[in-house]
Symmetry: C2
Subunit: 356 residues, 2 copies
């Protein structure tokens, strides 16, 4: 709104040519400390900031990163996605970049939408989250030959840069913990097999049960969609299994599902953490205020964001980059909800955090 301050303005103020000012801004060339200081002072006084558009035009770099996410996909809780967004924005800024929101439109538009952004040179690269099986965005962006990294992986996209949390290993830790605590009949409340994230987590359960030589009754695996209400009904279903094979522990793929399950257990007159163990996934803030506290799996979102950004910037800077999924391990957070079996594991101490 006010008179714009450009290199020339500063140059006039400092009594030099504007190119010299540019050099000071970029710490280039050989300039006498005295002059440099004088010019810097002018810059500060006038509050000069390089014009982003001019810089982008000249350097062919917008320093903008497109972030494509989805409001609907619920494989990750919004808590995780909010956190991820927050973190990439912060990391991007530290690197001199900004995040541009790219809405997810209809299937049909996906292609043209990314193309426009690239053709107009609006962004230097993309970050994609909420990846599904055969996610059309992966192919669209890959075809544009533009830098991109995804948080999460699609099945078909083995040759693209991505970072993901090893949900399989995460659930495995939880199941191991339950087995160590004495549980043998362990059930899982999972997602439909159209969910890549869900299948991954379920695999972690199957891995450990099989390794431990524990039989898995078909009825112990519930698959469905939803949050608390789904956890509630799924747990009811599990608790209705007749005694010999009724599970003593319930693993879930999401904290809010676990919360519903806990409710169902209590409604049955049973005590979570004594009669039945329950575990969650994500370590939502509310999770620790539950009574009993929920044993859950914490995703290293901070690290995911950091990795995503550094992989992306490597590509942007033309460095040869890895096209193999980078897997980060989540950690098991043990609280009271996973006790049971006469507190077999009590000496390990509740509320402690185990990083395996």
């Amino acid at each position: 709104m006010t008179e714009p301050v450009t290199l020339k303005t500063v140059a006039k103020h400092a009594g030099v040519s504007y190119q010299t000012v540019s050099k000071v801004v970029h710490n280039q060339g050989q300039i006498s400390p005295a002059l440099r200081q004088r010019i810097q002072k002018s810059i500060d006084e006038l509050g000069y900031r390089p014009n982003a558009a001019a810089q982008a035009l000249r350097t062919h770099a917008s320093h903008l990163i497109g972030y494509s996410w989805s409001l609907e996909r619920k494989d990750h809780s919004s808590f995780i996605l909010d956190q991820f967004q927050h973190d990439i924005v912060e990391d991007a800024e530290d690197a001199g970049y900004h995040i541009l929101l790219v809405p997810r439109r209809t299937e049909h538009d996906v292609d043209s939408h990314f193309r426009e952004l690239v053709k107009a040179r609006r962004v230097d690269g993309f970050i994609l989250s909420s990846i599904e099986y055969n996610d059309p965005r992966i192919e669209s962006v890959a075809r544009l030959k533009v830098p991109f990294v995804s948080f999460g992986r699609s099945h078909t996209s083995d040759a693209t840069a991505c970072v993901d949390v090893d949900g399989r290993a995460g659930i495995a830790k939880a199941v191991h913990h339950l087995i160590d605590s004495g549980h043998r009949r362990i059930a899982i409340i999972a997602w439909p097999d159209s969910s890549r994230v869900g299948n991954d987590r379920l695999a972690g359960y199957l891995d450990v049960m099989s390794d431990a030589g524990l039989p898995v009754e078909p009825a112990w695996i519930v698959r469905g969609t939803g949050e608390t209400e789904y956890g509630y009904s799924a747990a009811q279903q599990l608790l209705a299994i007749p005694e010999p094979s009724r599970p003593s522990a319930i693993v879930t793929v999401l904290d809010s599902i676990a919360m519903g399950a806990m409710q169902a257990v209590e409604t049955c007159g049973l005590i979570v953490g004594r009669d039945i163990a329950v575990t969650g996934f994500d370590d939502m803030p509310t999770t620790r205020h539950l009574k009993p506290g929920l044993t859950t799996i914490r995703q290293p979102i901070r690290e995911v964001a950091r990795a995503v950004l550094s992989l992306l910037l490597a590509q942007v800077n033309g460095e040869q980059s890895v096209v193999q999924p980078l897997m980060l391990s989540p950690e098991l957070v043990i609280r009271e909800s996973s006790q049971g079996y006469g507190h077999v594991d009590h000496e390990k101490g509740a509320l402690s955090t185990v990083t395996a």
Copy 2:
């Protein structure tokens, strides 16, 4: 990555000068339909898109809007904020704009941060959400004399453009509904008085109780922070009030608080919607899957986003704009949780939506 397509590329392809191509792009000047068509064909074939940086440099408009939000502030549930973000991105795109994420840094940085964005002409304006009392961002941005609109209002900012949902009217609708249903002893689970949103909603409760000539016992007003777990403990507190003045209805300022309250009621062996009425705020998706369904207040986020964006673009386009808060009314969604008093209000039909 590939050879950039510029006006000149297209011009060469079509056999004209590049200025003529520019005119076709902008539907300007007098150009014979035939030529126009031929040029348009070249544009399509080559996939030409105007370079955003060059355009911004030339027109002094980045067509970028900075969006400042906060991960921590929980006056609005993240559900509302996610929705709002989604909606402004979509509306912005329809208007040819994009949303740039502006992280909220430390108190100290607030000022310089916005200033940099403006001085560098990165953005054309700002949208602010999660507004608090005396929000430092309001003053920072206002001082820069740059277009901005906030979702929510600070107390001190009466003279800035903002859009907000009338939470006071929303809670008032809920309380009216409860009174109509026969309730007289109505309690509220609210937020600390440091919360502007919370105070606003509480005022709606006090308004109606007072208008209806109903006395309000101090113990009926609980204030605190948190979500489900807070709702649980607050409701426990209310249910512990000895009989003559124990509330028969509990109004809350957030769906997740209401969910906790419902749990507490059930734990007491009482039935929500029969013995005790409970209402929420926000109409989260899960809310309708609860049993009983939660009566709640739906915020017109779609409309808020639309209004915020049009107010902002008006400022950006130099139109004289309103500097008065624009208040939008939420609607009451009646489900089963607000019944009670022997289903006094049953004939009105559950699961119906009332827009008062």
